[in-house]
Amino acid sequence: MSTNKIAPRRLSQHAWLILANLEDGPQDVLMLRETILRNDDIELFPSTLCTALDHLERYNCIQALPSGGPHCPYRLTHYGEKLLQRQRTNMRKHYERIGLAARPGMFKERTMKPIPWLLRLYPRAWRDRYETEMLMLLEQHHISLATIADLLLGALDARLDPYYRTESPLFALKGRHSLAIIFISALAAFTYASYFWLVGHLIQVGWSIIDDGTVAVGYAQAAIFVTLIVSCLPIFFSVIKKDIAARRKTSLIIRASCMAFPFFLVKTFFPFSRPELYLHDLKFLFVWLIWFLGLEIIMGCLYTTVIQIGKAFAAGRKKLVFLVLCISLLMPLSLFLYDMSRGIGWMAGTNFDLMTLTLYLLPFACLGTLLLTVANSEMSKRTFSRALIPAALLLLTMMIVLIASITWILTSLIPEYWFLFNPILGDFRAPWNNSIFMCTVVMALALGAALVALLRGLVTLTTPRQRSEEARLVQMQRQL
């Protein structure tokens, strides 16, 4: 008989299965295979079983018994029994160690670690009320990834809940007006940056080349302009309403002349004398109608701007008017002068391009109008909430512009377009590249600021809690 010894850790899982199943009595190979399948739901292949049996026999863990049949039975030796017993004790100790230490103690402590941090994401008012009991609940609860995701969602929900708005939030804003001013300033910064981006890019690639980047950013800018004009419309209508109600003659005359201007233009350019040109051509009529309506909107916006400037002057806000005029005129004027220097445009005498001029001027005029309306404190809550819809659209457009710009920068990094940064020379190939980067950063920051302002705008600034406290104070004063 062999006296070889083996360390328990060197026995395979199959070997332990055989030892455990031979404990009840001797079994031959076939019986053993069936017992293992029945008891442990593991099907051992005959070759695996025979190898394991041979291994165990060699180390004197089992012993083959004499038999008359084709398969001899095996029985557990004294050494095998001792080995199995030792393994059982080790396993029990191991499980006890895991079980006692891990479940209520270390594991729970580890999973509870991020919880106070997560709860800090909730608003202070919420934490004052529910933090303690929620912590107690979480100590009893099994914390999974779903729990953490749920807490994050709950924190976001509580943050957006006006009831828990604190008096001094992260981006403290005094009121609706400062909020709107921030939004419009962010918008101005973004629009200017996108202009510079386009100019920088065009200087880089050449004015004659119209590539995808130019087209994408150009279209996006057009979308910004349209949204700006649309956002001015509610203000325009509210101004008209007030003028009619107050019967302000001067305002009404200015308004009438502004609104009549497109009629004169149409009368001048529209081929009334040749009805055969348009009477059978609906497309032609449609284009003219759109052009006419567009002009009406443009003139309406310009009228609103004039009225707002007048009101700001009357209120002694000259500095503000100067600021608005700078914002409104600086960019169109620069572009206009640039066009002139290149020998194109109206001043060069080659082309009387009224539409180009209005396109330059109008968006910035609208921007100025928005700013002035806010400064003149004319934006009622209703108008403000109406203005939020185009503002949301505007934000969406800004996001698209930013994504388009960043995508363009990234695609520019492809070697064949090394006009942004040349890794071989290790430098920016033109100073405009730096400005394109800077413009993108400004656009991203402005977008962030506008987003925060809009989110704040969506949540009413007077919270229900504040309102109830105010009501309570009024009641107390009455009682006194």
């Binding site: 009991e133 969602l153 709950g154």
Partner: protein, 105 residues
């Protein structure tokens, strides 16, 4: 069609479960979670539970009782009972109609 509990958004279903759980007596947060799991099979997570509790409390449908061992048990109020009754009645109508209309095969 079942009307959602007004203005409760994603908390309307948990709110219904909470009100149902509190219908047979006051409970604190963990007891509510266990009870809801037992009677409806829904495992509410603490974020959702307290989001709904906060809304229900603000609405006056449940109210906290004095704290026991740093946690407040909650009790359903008369307004909460009325709201729950209305909601359950609507659901009952939907269930009855649905079952009647289902073809019996």
């Amino acid at each position: 069609m079942r009307k959602e509990l007004p203005d409760l958004g994603r908390f309307s279903d948990p709110s219904l479960l909470i009100l149902s759980s509190l219908a047979n007596g006051p409970k604190h947060g963990y007891a509510m979670m266990e009870d809801i799991l037992q009677f409806s099979g829904t495992q509410l997570e603490p974020g959702t539970l307290y989001g709904a509790i906060a809304r229900l409390e603000r609405r006056g449908w449940i109210e906290p009782l004095p704290a026991e061992d740093r946690r407040h048990p909650y009790r359903i109020t008369a307004a909460g009972v009325t709201a729950l009754r209305e909601q359950l009645a609507t659901m009952h109508r939907v269930v009855t109609t649905g079952l009647q209309r289902l073809p019996t095969t």
